[in-house]
C-alpha cells in the first residue's frame, strides 16, 4: 500500500513517514495538490495551522470529496483531522468538508492540551489490539465538533471532546499516533491494514 502524505509546506513529516513505514506502508510526500488525485491512500499530517493548510488544499477539495466518496482511505491527524471538517474558529478558509461539523477552541484551563491523555474508544477496527485505558500524545488547542455520528473515541480535558472519528474509510485522530509510542504504531498499523483491505 502506498500512502501519500500531504505536505502543506510546514513542519515535521519525518515522524509520520517513519510511523507509516513501520506500519508496513510505502510512503510518498506530496506537495503538489493536483497529483493527489492518483493517490491510493491519503494522510493529512498534524503540523501547521488551519488557515495555511486550508489555503493549500483549496484547489484539491473537489477531487478529495470525489475520492472519499469512492472509498479512498483517508487519515487526518490532529490539524489533519480538523481540516477534514467544514471550518474552524482558528482561521478563515474552508476545510475539505469530508465530515460535517466545525472546529472550535478547546475549553480548558491550560491550552494547548499538551501531553499524554486517555482515549476512551468504542469497538472499532482502528483500535484493534489497543489496550483499554491507553494514553496517546496530544498537542492541540482546538477540537472537532462533528454534526454527524462519526465519533469513535472521546477524551476529557476541560471538556469532553471527540478524539477519533471514522466514516467509512475516512478517519481522523485528534492525537498523534506517530508520537504515541507502541500503542500509536498499533493504530497506524490498523489504519494501513484497513486501507489494504479496501484496495
Amino acid at each position: 500500500m502506498k500512502v501519500s502524505i500531504v505536505d502543506y509546506g510546514v513542519g515535521n513529516l519525518h515522524s509520520i513517514s517513519k510511523g507509516l513505514e513501520r506500519a508496513g506502508a510505502s510512503i510518498e510526500v506530496v506537495g503538489d495538490m493536483s497529483s493527489l488525485e492518483s493517490a491510493e491512500c491519503i494522510v493529512f499530517p498534524g503540523v501547521g495551522a488551519f488557515g495555511a493548510a486550508a489555503d493549500k488544499l483549496k484547489p484539491a477539495i473537489h477531487g478529495l470529496r470525489k475520492m472519499a466518496a469512492s472509498g479512498t482511505p483517508i487519515l487526518g491527524i490532529c490539524l489533519g483531522m480538523q481540516v477534514l471538517f467544514d471550518r474552524s474558529e482558528e482561521s478563515a478558509g474552508d476545510g475539505v468538508g469530508l465530515l460535517r461539523g466545525d472546529v472550535r477552541k478547546l475549553q480548558a484551563p491550560r491550552v494547548p492540551h499538551m501531553g499524554w491523555n486517555e482515549v476512551l474508544f468504542q469497538d472499532d477496527p482502528l483500535f484493534d489490539g489497543v489496550p483499554e485505558g491507553s494514553r496517546f500524545y496530544f498537542a492541540n488547542s482546538y477540537v472537532c465538533h462533528p454534526m454527524e455520528k462519526v465519533g469513535i473515541a472521546e477524551t476529557l480535558y476541560g471538556e469532553t471532546f471527540v478524539s477519533a472519528v471514522r466514516k467509512g474509510r475516512v478517519c481522523g485522530l485528534q492525537f498523534h499516533p506517530e508520537k504515541s509510542g507502541a500503542v500509536g504504531l498499533r493504530l497506524l498499523t490498523n489504519f494501513v491494514n484497513m486501507a489494504e483491505g479496501s484496495a
Partner: protein, 254 residues
C-alpha cells in the same frame, strides 16, 4: 482521566555528542544523542529534549544530523533548542524531524519571532525557553546561555511570550541548575500561575523526590532532568514509580 505529568530527559548536545553542563560550565561528555533518546523512549520517557549548547555553524549541521537520525527511531515527541535564531532556523529544525523548537535568546531580541513561528507552524511547536536567576524577590531573564542579564522579569516575560503565541514554557532556574539540590519551586509556581500554557520545570534535579516536588508543590506540568538519567542513577520508570506512590498520574508504556 486527565493529562499525566510528563518526564522529559534532556540531552545537552555539543558537536553531535551529549554533555551535561554544571552551572553552564565544565562540560563533560556522556554519549550519542540518538542512542540515548531511544534508550529513554524504552524507559518510558514522555518526551525528549535536545539542547544545542554551542550552536556554531558546524554545530547546527551536526545537530540537524543527530535530529534526523533520532527522528527515524523515536516515536515520542522531540523538542530541539539552542542556537535557534531565525524563522528559517525554526523551519529547518522542524523539517529535519523535531516536533517542537525551543527559542530563548532570539525571542528576547525579537519577540515577534514567537508570533511569526506560532502563526506558521502552530503554537504547539513553539516552546519559549527562559533562563532565570533570582534577584531579590523576583527572577531576572538571562540570554546567551545564561551569560547576559536582560533586565526582564521572568514572570512578566513568560506572560508576554504566551500572549504572542508561545505554546509552552521551558523554565530553567540558573541558581539551581547543576546543583542537584532540587528545582526552584517558587519560581516554577510563580510562572505556572501566571500563564495558561504548560510549564516544563528545569534545573536542579538530583533525586526522585525533587521531581515529585516540582510536579506537586511546584505545580509544573512536566519535569526536565539530565544527569539523574545520564549516569544511570535512575531510570524514567523509577521516577514514575515514585510519582505513582504519591498519587500523581503517570503514563506507562514505551
Amino acid at each position: 482521566m486527565t493529562l499525566t505529568k510528563r518526564i522529559i530527559p534532556c540531552l545537552d548536545v555539543k558537536e553531535g555528542a551529549v554533555v551535561k553542563g554544571v552551572c553552564f560550565k565544565d562540560l563533560r561528555q556522556v554519549g550519542d544523542p540518538p542512542t540515548l533518546a531511544v534508550e529513554y523512549q524504552a524507559q518510558g520517557a514522555d518526551e525528549i529534549v535536545f539542547l544545542d549548547v554551542n550552536a556554531s555553524v558546524a554545530g547546527v549541521r551536526t545537530m540537524h544530523e543527530a535530529v534526523r537520525k533520532t527522528a527515524e527511531q523515536l516515536f515520542v515527541p522531540l523538542t530541539v533548542g539552542g542556537g535557534i535564531r531565525t524563522f528559517e532556523d525554526v523551519r529547518k529544525t522542524l523539517n529535519v524531524g523535531a516536533d517542537k523548537t525551543s527559542i530563548n535568546t532570539a525571542a528576547v531580541l525579537d519577540p515577534s519571532l514567537i508570533s511569526k513561528c506560532a502563526d506558521a507552524f502552530g503554537s504547539q511547536c513553539v516552546v519559549l525557553a527562559i533562563d532565570a536567576k533570582r534577584s531579590g524577590d523576583s527572577w531576572e531573564v538571562y540570554t546567551h546561555s545564561g551569560t547576559k542579564p536582560t533586565g526582564l522579569d521572568a514572570v512578566e516575560w513568560a506572560k508576554a511570550a504566551v500572549e504572542r503565541g508561545a505554546g509552552e514554557i521551558l523554565l530553567t532556574s540558573m541558581d539551581s541548575d547543576g546543583m542537584k539540590k532540587g528545582y526552584d519551586l517558587d519560581l516554577t509556581k510563580a510562572v505556572v500561575r501566571a500563564v495558561r500554557v504548560p510549564v516544563i520545570a528545569s534545573g536542579g534535579c538530583g533525586t526522585l523526590d525533587h521531581i515529585v516536588d516540582v510536579l506537586t508543590v511546584g505545580e509544573a506540568d512536566a519535569a526536565l532532568a539530565a544527569s539523574i538519567f545520564h549516569f544511570g542513577q535512575h531510570t524514567v520508570a523509577d521516577v514514575k514509580r515514585a510519582l505513582e506512590a504519591k498519587g500523581v498520574p503517570v503514563r506507562w508504556g514505551s
